[in-house]
Amino acid sequence: MSVIAPNFKLSEFIKSILDVGFWGLLIFVLIGFPAAFIVLFYIEMPVINGELLTPFLALTWLADPSRTLPIIKAFMTTDLFRIAAFPGFGFAALIAAGTIFVERKMLAKLQLRVGPFYCGKIEGILQLMGDGLKLISKEIIIPAKADKPIFWAAPVLFVATAAAFVSLIPVTPGWVVADVDVGLLAVFAVIGFFPIITILSAWAANSKFPFIGGIRALFQMVSFEIPLILSFLGVVIVTGTLNLSEIAASQSSFPWIIFFPIGAIVFFITMLAELERIPFDLPEAESEIVAGWLTELSGMMYGLVQLGTYLKLYAFAGLFVVVFLGGWNGPMIWPPFPEEIITKGIELGPVTAQIPGLPVFSQEMLNGAVWFVLKTVGVIFFILLPRGVFPRIRIDLLLDLGWKKLIGLAFVNIFIALGLLYAGILGPGGIF
C-alpha cells in the first residue's frame, strides 16, 4: 500500500483507465467526427496539385514528407498563420521574450551584478518562463469596490490593442498581417486606444494611486501623441503614401533617417514616453505612487499588461525601423538556396528523398526578415539603454518637453521635408 495514495487499488485504477478510454472514444465518435465533417462542409479546402484536399488525403500526406510540404505552404498563406505565427503575435512574442531576457542581463551587467542566473542552467534563460508560471499561478485579487467588468477587461484590451499594433508592422515584402493603405493613420488610431484603456483601468480600480497613475499616463500619452504624429509627416510628405509597406519599399537605396534625423530623434523620444520606459515612467513611478495604474492589478492580469507592454515595445521599434531605418532593405546576406536540393533531393546516407516545392521561403524574404530583425533589435537596445543611465523625469518637465520642444522640433522636420520636396531633391520627380 502506497503512503502517498493510501486508498489505491489496482483494479480501480485499471477501471478508471478503461472508463476514460471508453468515454473518450464515444465522445470523439459521436461529436468529434460529425463536427469535423460539418466544419469541412463549410470550409473551402485548398486545391493542391490539382487535387482537392480532403481529410483523407491530408492524412495520407502526413506519411510522405514530400507531400506534406504543400500543406504547410497552403497553411502559411492563410490569415491564421500570419496572425498567430510569423509576422503577427508569435513572432512578436518571441522578440518580446528575447527583449526581456536581454534587458535583464544587460541592465545587470551595467550595474555590476549577474542578473538572472539559475533558472534554466544557462545564464537564467528560463527565468521569464518561471516568472510567467508564477504570475499564472497567483491569485487574482480584485479590489472590493472596483468596477469589476471594466477592471477585468482592461488587461485583455491592453494586449489586444498591442497585438493590433503589431499586426500593422510589415516585416518582409508581402509579409504583414494587415496591409492597409492607411497604415500610419491606423497606427495612430491604435496608439490612441492605450490612454483610454489605461484611464479606464485606473478609474475602475477605485484606488487613489492607480487613479493618479492613470491621470499621469493620460497626460503623458496625449501630450506625446502629437509630436509622434508630426514626426512622421516628413516621411509621408516625400513618399506620398501612408502605406507602411510602401514606405519601407521606398527606402531601397537609403533610409529616411539620413534626411530626417530630427524626425527620428523626436520619434525616438516620444516612443520612450509612449512606452513608459525609464526616463518617462511616471505612470509607474514606484517611489511616488506605488506602481501607478498597475497598483491594483495582480497575478496574470499584471502579466498580461506586461506582455502587452513588450509587444508594444516591439511594435514601436518595428515602426521606427520601417519608417526611418529602411525596413527590410539591406544588402543580400542570406546565402542562396543550394540548387542540388531542388534538382537532386536531399541525401541522408543511403536514402535520397526528392522533395518538390523547396525552398519554403524565398531568399529575399529570409534576407528581409533578417535585416528587419537586426535593425529592430538594435532599436530595442537603444530603448532599453536609458533605463540604466537616467533617473525618472518629473511630470511638469515632461509636459514641457512634449508640448514645447518636441512639437517645435517636429515642425522643423516638416519644413526640412518641404524644403527637400520643393528643391526637387526628393519626392516625385526628384533626384533620388
Binding site: 550595474q111 513611478a285 517611489s287 543611465v389 537616467f390 533617473p391 511630470i395
Partner: protein, 378 residues
C-alpha cells in the same frame, strides 16, 4: 449630545472634494518605515503631516533596565548601518560619567571605525536616494561598493553591520594584523569608485533638472528649524561637530567640511557624497598618525556606577549631530538615556519643505533630508 472627546493623536477632518489625502507609507516603496499623510490639490501638496513611529521600539526605556555595558548592543539598533556613530555619544558620555581616560590608539581606531561607518551609511542612503529617483544603477552601485567597507569593518569588529565595537574605556578588540595596508588599499579604491558616481548620477542633466531649486531650505529656516548635518550644511551654515567641538582626535586630523549655498534637494544630496571623500581623507590621515601599537582599552569594573550627574555629549554622525543625554543616579543602570537623533531633528523640515511642492518632488525632498525612519523612531 456633546461631541466625543477624542484621545490625543486622533482628529476628525472635514472632507474636501478638491483635496485628495494620500497615505504614503508606512508600507509604500517611497517612504521607508514611516507614514507621511499628504494632501494634494491636483499635483501640488497642500498639507503634509509626517507620522513617524511605525518602528518605535522604546530604546530609551529599554536602556533604563540594563547597565552601562549591556546597553551597547541594543542602543545601536536604531541605525545599524551607522552603528558605531550612534554609540559614540553614549560611550563618550559614559566615559565622562565614570571618569575613564582612553588610550591614544583607541581614539584613532574609533575615528577610523566611525568614518568607515559613516561611508557605509551614506552609501546605503545614496542607494535608496537613487531608487527613489528611479535610477536603478545608482541603487546597485552603492549597494555593491559599500561591501568593500563592510568587509573592512568585519575584519575590525567581527560583525557586518551591528558592530557593538565602541565600549566605555576604548574599543572591544584591537585591529587585526596587517589591517593598515588592507584598509588603505580598499579605501583608495573606494574613493576612486565614488568619484565615478558623479558621471552617472550627480552630473546627470535629468537629475539636476529634477532636484535643483526644489525644496529650497533657506539659511534662516535651516537655523530656525534646528536642522543638522548635511541639511544644514547644504543651506550654507558651516557647522560640523567634528570641527566645532572636536571629540577624540578629530582636532588633529586634516579634513574640511563641505558647504553649499543653494539649500535645495540637489545640494542636500550632494553634501553626503562630498563628505565621503573627506572621510576617506580622514581615514588615510588617521592610519598615518595612529600609534602603531599599544593598549586599546582600559580596565572596566564589573557593573560600573556613575555618581548623581548628567552629561550631554554630541558627535557628528552620517546624518548630522547626534546627541546623547545620560542621567545617572548611583546605580549600575542609567536613570535616563535620551538620544537626540539627527533624523528626528531634520524631520521638522519635511512639512516645511513639502507644502507647495509637486507630488513628484516628494521622494527626492524626503530622502534628501538624510532621514532614517528607524532612527527617528528609536
Amino acid at each position: 449630545m456633546s461631541t466625543p472627546t477624542l484621545p490625543p493623536g486622533l482628529a476628525i477632518q472635514k472632507a474636501d472634494e478638491r483635496i485628495m489625502t494620500l497615505n504614503v507609507g508606512p508600507q509604500h516603496p517611497g517612504s521607508g518605515h514611516m507614514r507621511i499623510v499628504v494632501q494634494i490639490d491636483g499635483d501640488y501638496i497642500v498639507a503634509c503631516d509626517p507620522d513617524p513611529g511605525y518602528v518605535h521600539r522604546g530604546e530609551e526605556k529599554m536602556a533604563e533596565y540594563r547597565n552601562y555595558v549591556l546597553n551597547i548592543p541594543h542602543l545601536e539598533r536604531p541605525v545599524i548601518h551607522d552603528s558605531c556613530n550612534i554609540l559614540y555619544p553614549y560611550v563618550l558620555g559614559v566615559e565622562e560619567l565614570l571618569g575613564l581616560e582612553i588610550t591614544e590608539r583607541a581614539k584613532y581606531v574609533r575615528v577610523i571605525a566611525a568614518e568607515l561607518n559613516r561611508c557605509v551609511y551614506t552609501m546605503y542612503w545614496l542607494a535608496i536616494y537613487g531608487i527613489f529617483l528611479g535610477h536603478s544603477t545608482m541603487f546597485m552601485w552603492p549597494a555593491g561598493d559599500r561591501e568593500l567597507l563592510i568587509d573592512l569593518l568585519e575584519k575590525m569588529t567581527g560583525a557586518r553591520v551591528t558592530h557593538s565595537y565602541f565600549i566605555p574605556g576604548g574599543i572591544r578588540n584591537d585591529l587585526p594584523a596587517n589591517f593598515e595596508d588592507v584598509c588603505l588599499r580598499q579605501v583608495n579604491y573606494f574613493e576612486k569608485r565614488i568619484k565615478e558616481y558623479a558621471d552617472v548620477f550627480y552630473d546627470n542633466p535629468i537629475l539636476i533638472s529634477r532636484t535643483e531649486k526644489t525644496g529650497v531650505l533657506s539659511r534662516e529656516d535651516a537655523i530656525r528649524l534646528g536642522t543638522t548635518g548635511s541639511v544644514l550644511r547644504a543651506s550654507g551654515v558651516d557647522y560640523d561637530v567634528r570641527k566645532k567641538e572636536p571629540y577624540d582626535v578629530y582636532d588633529e586630523l586634516d579634513f574640511q567640511t563641505n558647504v553649499m549655498k543653494s539649500g535645495d534637494s540637489y545640494a542636500r544630496s550632494r553634501i553626503p557624497w562630498l563628505d565621503m571623500m573627506e572621510s576617506c581623507r580622514i581615514i588615510r590621515d588617521a592610519l598615518q598618525k595612529m600609534p602603531k601599537s599599544g593598549s586599546v582599552r582600559v580596565k572596566l569594573k564589573p557593573n560600573p556606577k556613575g555618581g548623581i550627574d548628567s552629561v550631554y555629549k554630541r558627535i557628528e554622525s552620517g546624518r548630522g549631530a547626534l546627541g546623547c543625554y545620560i542621567v545617572s543616579d548611583k546605580k549600575p543602570e542609567p536613570y535616563r538615556v535620551k538620544l537626540s537623533v539627527p533624523s528626528f531633528r531634520n524631520l521638522i523640515a519635511l512639512p516645511h519643505l513639502l507644502i507647495g511642492e509637486k507630488l513628484g518632488n516628494m521622494p527626492s525632498i524626503y530622502w534628501s533630508l538624510n532621514y532614517w525612519p528607524v532612527e527617528a523612531d528609536r
